[in-house]
Structure formats: structure tokens, C-alpha cells
Amino acid sequence: MEFTPELIKGTVVPIVLKLLDERPMYGYEIIKLVNRRTENAFQWKEGTLYPWLHRLEADGLVRGEWQVAPSGRRRKYYTLTRRGRTAMVSKLEEWRALSTAVNTLLLGPVTT
């Protein structure tokens, strides 16, 4: 199933923040993880992730840091900041409330 870009856009921030809450990750790792966990339901254009990451970095929600991986490759790892963690909690609450409301509206029993 393919999602509309507008719908995906609204989910990027909570998803990235939630994943980074688990551990510091680099961009490609985030994409791989999203694809694996959603069983490729989200067909993100890979390049679109980086502007989002940079926005979050500019807002102080994540911090990017170059590190050398054990393989010898140099990658930019993103870590959730304290502000980012607060934002993540708030985004998840927001999402929960929205999805409940939308579910009720779209999938719940019809009442008059």
C-alpha cells in the first residue's frame, strides 16, 4: 500500500524522534529501520529524510556528530537531545490523541 506524501510528512518527526530515543543512529540506518519495521509500507524517498534531520538539528531536538564506525566508515550519527526527548513525548501524545479521534471518526460505529 502506498501512502500519500501529505500523510507521510506528518509522521516523519515522531518516527525519527522515537527511533533516536532508542539509540544514536545515522540517516541510512534510520531509513533501513523504518523500512524493516513497517515491512516497507513507508516508501520514503531516502533523500527527503536529511532535510528533516537538519530541521530537527537546527531546532535543537537532535544533535549530529561525526563518528567513525567499527568498519572504518565515517558517518554522521544523530542523538536525541533533552529537548528532543520532551518533544518526542509530546508528539507521541499528540499522535495518540489524533489517531484515537481519527479512528473513532473513520472506523468507529456510526451514531446519530
Binding site: 545515522y26 524517498k45 533523500g47
Partner: protein
């Protein structure tokens, strides 16, 4: 898709970010790493290399769309970074220069120069510096305070300058007495001929007598100047007796008998006055009050110098009057005018007591003793010649008793055994200023060894101020070297894109401040101030090798840490941005030699006091000197080689070297500012605290006035001793 295409796509992707070349490279490197990861994974899944690269590029998305998104996402960041970069480029270098010069105490050097001017009235000093001279605190002096401190400097001649103070406050007798002092100093300027000078002087003295009628001083000064013209005081043959050697005989060669009689009559009038006041102590006290309490060593030295520079020109006057009184009495006896001679046979005692009453320095007390010894021996001799040996004996007895306390003190100072012991103790435990001043005061000045601590520690603090200045100037030199190299590279490589100006991030700056500045400073303070390894219970001249080792270690650690941390940050950043970085220099082995030398020097600085006394040039001292020189040379060479590498970099390294040099400037500027901000205020506070605690070298308080507190106490004891002896002898002063 082949490699050039990949590079072209990455260029197009990041083109919108071209206003921030560092950010562009950063994003480019991130996207390149992404493409590499993706292609690698595809290769592992069996895709051919070329196809994997193409698939990675395709999966990334449309370059134009992503480039636009990247610009939107990064625009706020780019704006903020541009503002920071602009601020750093405009402010970092000037602020660092100001901070380093401030930390190096350049302002204080000017103050020192101004103080010298104040003390020497050196006309060579530029006027702006001279005006800076006596600025004691944050507030400038009021015109009235300026007048009291210096007189009216627009006038010619010191006496007329000082007269201006009294003219401004004509009822103040201290200012009148101060004017009389300078009149005596400038006596030679009063007129062309001796008669003219005496006439002018007499006129001023008569005026002063009317204004200050109880004061004997003006009569004595006038008498002395008349005496100078009326007769010559010649030294007679010295007897073999100890007392004679102490006080040689004098005779008068009369040139103008009438004037001599007038002079001695004036002297008698002075002796009949109830008091003698020179006003020196009161004037000094007032000037010190205007200057306020000292907060820095410079203030302390200024105050000591001000006290030491108090003019006491009349001391020679009183000595001459004491010398002349006896021979004049002899002259009168020879003329069968015994009754007229009698007052001059007691003159020495009255004069000595008048002087003692106004004494406040050790010099005053020594002059009191000179008057007692000189005057009494002349008078006793006249009595013997006049056939009254009993009276001669009585005079000698009174003189012996009156001057006993001063003589005893002088003997104790001249005692070689005690003197050597004192000098040894002072060499080991006293500050430099105490070592210079205390030996002349004798061992009683040092009743409490703990009292030496503030002045001793002050030497270390001042040395540390010098060290802090040296470190800030070394960091500044590194920064200016980097700046010079960056400018040179820009000049050489005008046709190529300019090297990057890497924006230091907060963590790197915090790392430099924390590990390059705060941590070494804290370890130094803990080790030297709070443990016995610092050797602070011994004087700096005694333990100079230890201080040299500590200072070199701190300088080496701070400089190498700040330079090293900044350089390794810039290198890491260049590597992250994908710039080709040449092999680092110095090599690991060279770094090890440097670290080992610094560590060895640190270990030597922990040796016990005896091993590190700078009195002997033993193995420990030699080790300190050699290792310090070695560390210094290595630091210098490291800086020089880095500079040479930046200046003469080959074409393939030019961009990296230029980027390194440009990017080190803000980092080192922050290091200079942080070091200055950490070290200087703490040291100044420490200096003020030690000066407040110093009870030896401070200018006296508790109603005392004088050179230093310790001298003022001693002078007061001697003064009280003479007063006590006079009371027991039933001496009478004045009428």
C-alpha cells in the same frame, strides 16, 4: 552511473547551500556516506558495483527537489552560523589581543612607569603618563586632592608649587610647615647672592613664625641658614677614646661674628618654644589617606615610596646646630661670658627632645641620637675646659641615659651573629621586599615568623601574574601565527577557492576551556597552594627552581593542550568534511618525548625543599633548568614548524593548511580570553587579600605613620624609650 556523475549530483544537491561552504561540505559528506552505505548493501545483496551506485542515487530522490528542501531546512542554521562567523571574525582577534595584554599586565607596566615618574619627577616621562601617575583607585582624584598630592604643577619650582597648597588653605599649619620644608630644599633658588637668599628666606620664616608661633622649627631653620653664612663648622682632631670616636670634636671658623650671634640667638629662641613640628608625618598621613588603602603590590610600593620620599631636609640642619652649639659656648666662655654660654651647654638635650617629640621614622631617631652624642660631647668638653668637670660628667651621664634605648637597638642591628641568623631566616622564608627592608631594622622586627607569610606569598602571586601573562601571550602568539599563515595562504592562493573558516562548535570550545585551561589551572592551584608540594612555606628566591619547574609545566600543559585540542578538532572536522588531510605532525615519538619531559619536570617539582633550594647549583637545579629549556625549545619548534608548514604548504596540502590556520584563530582566541578571564581576576584578588593580611610591609595604621608598619612600630618604641629616659632624668623642654 560513473563516479564523476555521482560527484556532479552531490554538487547539485548541495549547491543551494553554497553560501556556507562548511555546511555544504558537511551535508555533502553525509549524503556521500549515505550513498556509499546504500551501494555497499546492494553489492552485498549481489548487485553489480555500477548498478549498485546507480540504484543508490536513484533511491536518494530528485536532486533539485532535495536540494531545495535542504536549503529550506538549513536556512535558519545558515543565518545563525553567518552571524556567529561574522561576530567571531570581527571580534575574536581584537578581544583576544586586549585580553592577553590585560592579562600580561601591560596596564600595570604603565602604572609602574608612572610611579617612577611620580617618585623621580622625571621630566622625560610623557605628560599623559605623568598624569596617570597617582591614580589610586577607580575614581580619579578631585582637583583639591591633586593639589595636596603634588602641589600646583603649573608653577615653577617645588617650593612655589607646594606653597600653592597652603595658599589654598591658609589656616592649615601642616601645609605651611610643608611649604617651609620645600623652601629649605629649594634654598639655592631663592636668589642670586647668599645675602639675597638669606633675606628672602628670613622674610618667609618670619611670616611663618607669626602664623605658627608655638613652633620652634622656623627659628632653627633660620638659625641654621644664618650659621652657614656666619661660620664654618670644622672637624677637630679625633681623640682615641671610644666616646670621642663616636662624636668627633668640632670648632667654628667664624666669618661674620655678628651674624653668628644672631644665628645662635635665633637658635635659643627656637629652643625656648614648646614644640617643634615639621609637618612631615601629618602631610604624609594626609597624602596616604587620599591614596586610600593599597589593593595591589604597586599601590603598596607607591605608598612605601611615598613615605620613603618624604623630604627631611632639616635633619642636617639640626645636626649642624648641635655641632655648633658646643663650640659657640666655648667661644663665649673664652670671652668670659659664662652666663651667656650656659644655655648652649644644654642646647643638645632640648633640641634632642624637641626632635624626638616630632620623630616618626628610624632616621629621625638616629638624628636624635646624633644630636645627643654630638651635642653632649661638645658641651662636656667645653665644661672641662671651663674647669667644671662635674658638670661635664653630668652631661655625659644624661646623654648616656637619654640615648641608651636607641644605642641598644643599633648595637643589636650591628651584632654580626644575630644579623647572620636573621639574614638566613629571611633568605629562607621572607618575601623579597621584607628581605630588603628588615635586616636594617634588626631581629626584633621579626618576632613572629608567620608575619612573613603574606609578603612571601605575594612574591609567588606576582610571579604567577607574570606566568599568567606569559601563557596568555604565548597563546596569543599562536593565534597571531595562525592568523598570519591564513592571510598568507589567501594571498598566495587568490585564484583558488579560499580555505574554509570552520565554525567552532560549543562542545569543542567547552573542551578547550575545560581541559586546556580550567583543568591545568585547577591542578596547579591545588598542588601549589593547598599542598606542601608547592613549597610556599619557603621564599621564592630560595625555591626558584621549584617555581620554574611548576611554571614551565603549567605553560607547557596549557599551551600544548589548547593548541593540540584546537588543531585536532580542526583536523577531525576536515576529515569529516572529506578534505584530504596529510599525515599529522609531530609524530607519536616526538609527542612522547615532550610528554615525558613535562612529566619529569613535574616529578622534580615535587622534590623536598632542601633539594630544590636555589642557593646551590646542584643536580636538581640543573635538571630543572635543562628540562625547562628543553620543553621551551620543543614548544617553540612545534609552533615554528606548524607555521612553516602553513606558509610553505605544497599545492595538494594548501587548502587543508589554510583551513587549519584560519580555523585555529577563533579557537585560540577563545583560549586566550578564557585563560585571561580565569587567571587574572583570581590573581588580583589573591594579591589584594595578601596585601590586606600583610602586617610587616603595609603602611602603618593605628595612628602610626611612616615607611612601613614594622619600622613605625620600632620608631615608636625608640621614641617612647627616649621620652621615658627624659622623664626619669627630669628633663624639661621649651621655656
Amino acid at each position: 552511473m560513473n563516479e564523476p556523475n555521482r560527484e556532479g549530483i552531490l554538487d547539485r544537491l548541495t549547491e543551494p547551500l553554497q553560501d556556507d561552504p562548511e555546511l555544504r561540505l558537511d551535508v555533502r559528506a553525509e549524503l556521500a556516506a549515505h550513498l556509499e552505505d546504500k551501494a555497499c548493501e546492494l553489492r552485498e545483496q549481489g548487485t553489480a558495483a555500477e548498478a549498485a551506485r546507480n540504484e543508490a542515487l536513484r533511491a536518494l530522490g530528485a536532486p533539485a527537489e532535495i536540494g531545495a528542501d535542504l536549503l529550506v531546512a538549513n536556512r535558519p542554521r545558515m543565518k545563525r552560523r553567518a552571524r556567529i562567523r561574522l561576530a567571531l571574525r570581527a571580534l575574536a582577534v581584537p578581544l583576544a589581543i586586549v585580553a592577553a595584554l590585560w592579562c600580561a599586565g601591560m596596564g600595570q607596566l604603565l602604572d609602574y612607569a608612572a610611579s617612577v615618574d611620580m617618585l623621580t619627577a622625571n621630566a622625560m616621562t610623557p605628560p599623559w603618563l605623568r598624569r596617570k601617575g597617582l591614580r589610586a583607585g577607580p575614581k580619579p582624584f578631585t582637583p583639591e586632592q591633586e593639589l595636596v598630592l603634588h602641589g600646583d604643577r603649573s608653577r615653577k619650582g617645588r617650593a612655589t608649587q607646594q606653597r600653592a597648597i597652603w595658599e589654598r588653605w591658609p589656616d592649615n599649619l601642616t601645609y605651611l610647615r610643608n611649604y617651609a620644608t620645600y623652601l629649605l630644599v629649594d634654598y639655592g633658588q631663592l636668589g642670586e647672592s647668599p645675602t639675597e637668599r638669606l633675606k628672602k628666606f628670613e622674610s618667609e620664616m618670619r611670616m611663618a613664625m607669626r602664623k605658627d608661633p608655638e613652633n620652634a622649627r622656623y627659628h632653627h631653620l633660620l638659625a641654621a641658614k644664618m650659621l652657614e653664612q656666619a661660620a664654618e663648622i670644622k672637624k677637630g682632631p679625633t681623640g682615641k677614646a671610644k666616646a670621642d670616636r663616636r662624636s668627633p670634636r668640632y670648632r667654628l671658623e667664624v666669618k661674620d661674628r655678628d651674624l653668628l650671634d644672631r644665628a645662635m640667638a635665633e637658635f635659643r629662641k627656637g629652643l625656648a618654644k614648646p614644640m617643634l613640628r615639621r609637618g612631615a608625618a601629618e602631610m604624609l598621613s594626609e597624602r596616604l589617606r587620599i591614596l586610600g588603602p593599597p589593593r595591589r603590590r604597586l599601590d603598596q610600593i607607591r605608598r612605601i615610596a611615598l613615605a620613603a620620599a618624604v623630604l627631611l631636609p632639616d635633619l642636617a640642619v639640626y645636626r649642624n646646630l648641635a655641632r655648633a652649639a658646643g663650640p659657640y659656648a666655648g667661644l663665649l666662655v673664652a670671652e668670659h661670658r659664662k652666663d651667656d654660654a650656659a644655655p648652649f651647654l644644654d642646647a643638645w638635650e632640648k633640641l634632642a627632645l624637641q626632635l624626638n617629640d616630632d620623630a616618626f621614622t628610624l632616621i629621625d631617631e638616629l638624628v636624635v641620637l646624633a644630636v645627643i652624642d654630638l651635642g653632649s660631647s661638645q658641651a662636656a668638653e667645653v665644661c672641662e675646659r671651663a674647669g667644671t668637670p662635674d658638670r661635664a660628667e653630668a652631661i655625659r651621664h644624661r646623654a648616656e641615659a637619654l640615648g641608651a634605648v636607641i644605642r641598644d637597638w643599633r648595637r643589636s642591628v650591628q651584632d654580626k651573629t644575630h644579623g647572620e641568623q636573621l639574614k638566613h631566616q629571611l633568605r629562607q622564608h621572607a618575601g623579597i621586599l621584607s628581605s630588603l627592608l628588615l635586616p636594617a631594622l634588626g631581629s626584633e622586627s621579626l618576632s613572629d615568623m608567620d608575619a612573613l607569610a603574606p609578603d612571601r606569598l605575594l612574591d609567588y602571586t606576582l610571579a604567577e601574574e607574570g606566568l599568567a601573562g606569559a601563557i596568555s601571550l604565548t597563546l596569543l602568539a599562536l593565534m597571531l601565527g595562525a592568523l598570519g599563515a591564513a592571510l598568507w595562504r589567501r594571498l598566495l592562493d587568490r585564484k583558488r577557492p579560499p580555505p574554509l573558516y570552520l565554525l567552532p562548535d560549543a562542545r569543542s570550545l567547552a573542551g578547550i576551556v575545560l581541559f586546556g585551561i580550567a583543568a591545568p589551572a585547577l591542578v596547579y592551584v591545588i598542588l601549589t597552594h593547598w599542598t606542601s608540594f608547592g613549597g610556599r612555606e619557603y621564599s621564592l628566591p630560595y625555591q626558584w627552581p621549584r617555581f620554574m619547574a611548576q611554571a614551565t609545566v603549567l605553560l607547557a600543559v596549557v599551551t600544548a593542550s589548547c593548541g593540540g585540542l584546537a588543531a585536532s578538532w580542526a583536523r577531525r572536522r576536515c576529515e569529516a568534511l572529506g578534505l584530504p588531510c596529510p599525515r599529522p605532525w609531530p609524530t607519536k615519538r616526538m609527542r612522547r618525548v615532550f610528554t615525558a619531559s613535562v612529566f619529569l619536570l613535574f616529578l622534580v617539582s615535587l622534590l623536598p625543599a632542601e633539594a630544590l633550594s636555589g642557593t646551590e647549583f646542584d643536580w636538581a637545579t640543573i635538571t630543572v633548568v635543562v628540562l625547562s629549556a628543553l620543553v621551551g625549545v620543543m614548544l617553540f619548534l612545534r609552533g615554528a614548524v606548524a607555521l612553516a608548514m602553513a606558509l610553505c604548504a605544497p599545492r595538494d596540502q594548501a587548502f587543508y593548511r589554510g583551513t587549519l590556520a584560519r580555523s585555529l584563530v577563533p579557537m585560540l582566541a577563545v583560549a586566550v580570553m578564557a585563560w585571561s578571564a580565569v587567571s587574572r581576576p583570581w590573581l588580583i584578588r589573591q594579591e589584594g587579600e595578601l596585601i590586606r593580611r600583610d602586617t610587616l610591609m603595609s603602611t602603618p595604621s593605628e595612628g602610626l605613620i611612616g615607611f612601613t608598619s614594622v619600622e613605625a612600630h620600632l620608631a615608636r618604641r625608640l621614641k617612647q624609650g627616649v621620652e621615658e629616659a627624659a622623664k626619669q632624668l627630669g628633663s624639661r623642654r621649651g621655656r
